[in-house]
Symmetry: D2
Subunit: 387 residues, 4 copies
């Protein structure tokens, strides 16, 4: 094993650290209070050419791997922007991989340059309200009518649908067959046509800057040439991107946790009570040391998952473990950061409560901690399926 | 030991359960979003005569003990109102005890009826920004000038100062003497004169309905007859109310946790994924069972503390343990409630994220978990002071 | 609620505290190393008349309730003897309740005086190796042959079978009927006939002084008059004693944990490293304070369960919660006691490692922590059965 | 980063996996019951040439790094032999590094071949009873008398002193000077002369096969040529080996935990209760999945520490974090393995209770978890020293 970054990787981290440091606590706090997409931040990321980090060079991307994407998203989340910053670009990093992998040349040409240049934002229409994590039961329908599909039904938790021009959509093109439950779904990348959709923002615990939505499709027309790959194989295409998504979200949880830890540590050094910095108390410093160790270890697991993926090796168990450990470590660090601030941790101006609200996102999504454990239990430990 | 409630106590719980059920999820969610004191709720509590539950009958109160006050606040917090509901009256329940215990007959006559009737609300000016939990280092000064004291300096985390007419104020009347650090502070109950104070609301993680504030005193005049007891003994008077406060806040944390648990349980029964209610999964149901057990056990500790207090026995260790256990159990239950809801736990309309934000209050205040453990370690285990 | 002990109850605790203090660390350490039933200790308990604490006065017992039995076993376990001491008499306290409740007058007359006087010890033959906690699937058979039953099959984890004269045996008298799985088992109290049994001691982690065994029955004859109650109703009779057993074992786990905590606290005061008692470090003292609080709270839950039982109220959920919380708190305290001793915790002469080995008994038995949570989830939270 | 093993490293793991599989559960259980150095096992390791894995090739070693030593010890501990197997050779792997680093050519020639060949075993005399982890306060004295030193005083926790021919000894050669507390200690490697020492085995919780001892030196003579490096610099020499020791012990804790996890998983698949393998229950399988993830992550941290060390980079913080995480993960896995076995976990014949007793060694030594956290807090987080 080798545990150092390459020079290129170090340069990515350095450049992005600098980029994120240009956005102040006040900027992000205002976004958290008032909402509104962090367009200034997005523009910076776009202008510096980061959106195509993991997309093919021939379409203007950097052609790097999930490893570098992980380093990028980790660095962005490890900032005052936290999940708001990360989520504002997360989908553009992770979403187009399906196009690169399964799209036709024509589709890649039509879509990838715009995604890489940041000409359009995309959102991700997979999750549905009454389906939970049982993806094979998705109900949104795309009915073929000549050269078009007609889409109807409801998606939920579609992030950035308020600002996105495009949507990656998984919809049912033939009825569910219990014998082949993973078939019958198709994947589309198409315009998010606001005239035939109703998009309702969900008021949520945190990350107000990046909207999450219910999207109701009312006979939305999708040209057949916007279907990626073969009809009925959409589930399989999406599956390919689940592991990178878990690794990216893991990296974000860790970044968030480290940002919280840094703030807690700084406060613990400065804050004097009973004539000593509170950080001199083991009750304050030991939990922070544990947070540090757990975040570092989880990060190594994320990096291992990315290395496996980039090598073309099987990485599902590691990716799920990375997501699980990262979310636990990130959550614990954010909670501890609030606790280390005492009452001040409850005031928005100290920012750690914001991070605690945001860390629930990688804790709850894109897969629950319980489902991650189910995966490990079944695939690694070979225990029987429990549900 | 005996573990049942008396008929009177059961009646308290029943009546208040009914009262709180009159205020909808939507009412409290709106308060959480928009802020604004929950005046309707307060009026109901006031009209039903609950404010004086633990104050002397001769001034219009019910003359009951901390036990009954605990039952009252537990029931109120175990509702959609959670900490917002509890905090809107908490101070009126717990604050006036110092008047009842140490005030002159004249003072009791002047103040208790109004507090009991709800004619005026009171806030509590003890905590200061650079002092933390080291109360003997309070800096707000009250300088004697003839028949008045002139108050200057800053308090923080003063709840309900936006709406209160009265303030219970702990201020320094003579300089700190290292030899007698607990002396030199005096206790006042007086008008919160807005002309000589600046009151700045703190934007905070939760419980927006009940304001918390920084209060800056700019030569505020306080009549000498508003001083409770002897000059210089204020710390001692306040000390008497610390244990009841910990017990009440513990009861509130438990109520909040139980409300969250009830919501999680209901959701776990209804929500079907993979063709079964999610509550059939041990990964969902076992944490809820643990929450139930820990909340019940913490509640017994709260009740034991209240019983000891009402019997006139030493209750400091039990009160601190009750606060510690209640805050842990309450926090865990609220976090688990969010996790049990999956992604829906992040949406405000499911209410559990609100409870999670609110449970940080009893977690962080009025004393940190670490200080509660210090107290147990020193007083019960007789271990040397660590700080 | 009332949280004090009655004078009688205090007298029980006091007398037993004195009794257990008569047995030295060295006594119990030797028993742990070499095995051998703690006959001296048993004789003291017997001579002071404690064995019949919860059995009817008309047969020589004290006629007290589970509450007093809990106080007794708690006090015994809270000593250097720990589980070895407790287990040496546990069965005589808890086992004969089925006789008192369901035996005929003749049976009571035949058996209770001897159990109360300590003339004979009894063991408990319920658990079987391939059945686990699914009691309705017990396989040991008792076939009726005229005035006798012929018993064959295997029991496991039968404690004190090496020294007991009597056995309480649950055996199948008719085949399992899926429609009525709880029927077909019968309860016997009879001589443990060594000529028709093979009793094989299990080498185990701790509590060497009190043997646990595999018992193989080879056509053991049991007179029909040794059957308690009706044939086929044995499961129902045994069920009645499960909650008291959980409460007693909970009390023992707590006693054990408190004994460990006391030793850890004493060591933390005495042991000086880096020129300070190690107990001055929050990393040492805070976990001990948490142990203290959790043990106290669990004890209140045990006492509540006992109160409910003695009042004739439903106590299953509370008993399971008490067992769960007690085992967790007891385990944590014993582990922390070892950790607080540093390397010395690993040496037998400091006794805490012995307690840690012993606390696994109430952790693992008589019901697993997982089954206790299943019970709470189903009965209290009304969630669907998960298994 | 790169996460694969080299071919050589894979070969090490494979060869040792095969070697350890040659020693049965029964072999190690007997050793655990009866004690006695596992000489057969030691001979195999010696004959296959593993003892010199990390010692210089010029003296017959393999010249590999800590990375390979970590892989070796991890593989050995991940077997039925657990800590007994690991500890029987641990000192020969880790101890002689000080000779290789600081010994003279003559000393290396005199000692390394014998250690590499396994001609003699060595023990480690550093820890003292009243000093704890405050190594600068060691009291064992080595007084210079001409060409010899005369050693007197007491060491404790000296493992393998019953069978070792040699001792690595840290002793005071000049009085402690508060201004330079780390000076005045010298390091010796010399014959363990049984005629001038009393060696008393400590009866301990587990790992009976590998003795731990109190060693009393009664004027033991040590030739001056057995002193390593300069007089007074012994503390500095020893310091160099602390990080490798932490990494090795971390690797052993992980191996032990994984062995326990494997046994728990196998049992969970086989054991049927309520008509299903118990491993189908999430209450059984999820904790095992968590164990798996935490053990893997801790292992990556160990490997990172080894990589840093082998690269000559600073690795103290990582080594302490690796020890901390490994001990936690190893302990949790062993405890869970016992819990997963239900009552059977308490029987020695299922082996997991033995692993639980053994895992306390890396939990408690060579440094406490608390001291590991202190190190991280001070060195990485730059928080003030707490003790």
């Amino acid at each position: 094993m080798r545990f150092g970054l390459t020079d290129d990787q170090s340069a990515i981290v350095e450049a992005l650290s600098k980029l994120v440091s240009g956005f102040s606590d006040e900027y992000w706090l205002t976004k958290d209070r008032e909402g509104g997409f962090p367009e200034d931040f997005y523009q910076c990321v776009k202008e510096d050419g980061w959106l195509g980090i993991a997309l093919p060079e021939q379409y203007g991307g950097s052609g790097m791997g999930v490893t570098e994407a992980v380093l990028m998203m980790h660095t962005i989340a490890k900032s005052s922007g936290g999940m708001a910053a990360a989520s504002s670009i997360h989908m553009n990093i992770f979403g187009p991989k399906s196009i690169a992998a399964f799209g036709s040349d024509d589709q890649k040409q039509r879509w990838l340059p715009g995604l890489i240049n940041g000409d359009f934002k995309m959102c991700f229409g997979v999750t549905e309200p009454n389906v939970g994590l049982d993806t094979t039961r998705l109900k949104v329908k795309a009915e073929r009518r000549g050269a078009k599909y007609i889409v109807s039904g409801q998606k939920i938790w579609t992030s950035t649908a308020q600002v996105a021009e495009k949507i990656m959509l998984l919809a049912r093109t033939s009825p569910r067959d219990d014998a082949k439950p993973t078939e019958g779904l198709s994947l589309f990348f198409t315009d998010l046509d606001r005239s035939s959709t109703t998009i309702k923002e969900i008021d949520k615990m945190g990350r107000k800057a990046v909207d999450s939505n219910e999207v109701f499709f009312d006979q939305m027309e999708v040209p057949a040439e916007d279907r990626i790959g073969e009809e009925g194989n959409g589930f399989r295409y999406i599956l390919q991107s689940l592991n990178p998504e878990r690794l990216l979200i893991g990296a974000e949880a860790i970044g968030l946790g480290q940002e919280a830890l840094n703030r807690a540590t700084a406060y613990a050094k400065d804050r004097v009570v009973f004539e000593r910095p509170i950080g001199q108390n083991q009750a304050i410093q030991h939990p922070l040391a544990v947070n540090w160790a757990e975040l570092e270890a989880a990060f190594l697991m994320v990096m291992k998952g990315a290395w496996l993926f980039d090598k073309g090796k099987s990485c599902g168990v590691v990716a799920n473990a990375a997501k699980y450990l990262s979310a636990e470590a990130g959550f614990d660090a954010c909670k501890q950061a609030v606790a280390s601030h005492g009452g001040m941790g409850y005031a928005k101006e100290f920012h750690v409560e914001r991070l605690l609200r945001e860390v629930m996102i990688p804790y709850l999504a894109p897969v629950s901690q319980q489902m991650a454990l189910n995966f490990i239990a079944e695939k690694e430990l070979q225990l029987p399926r429990s549900y």
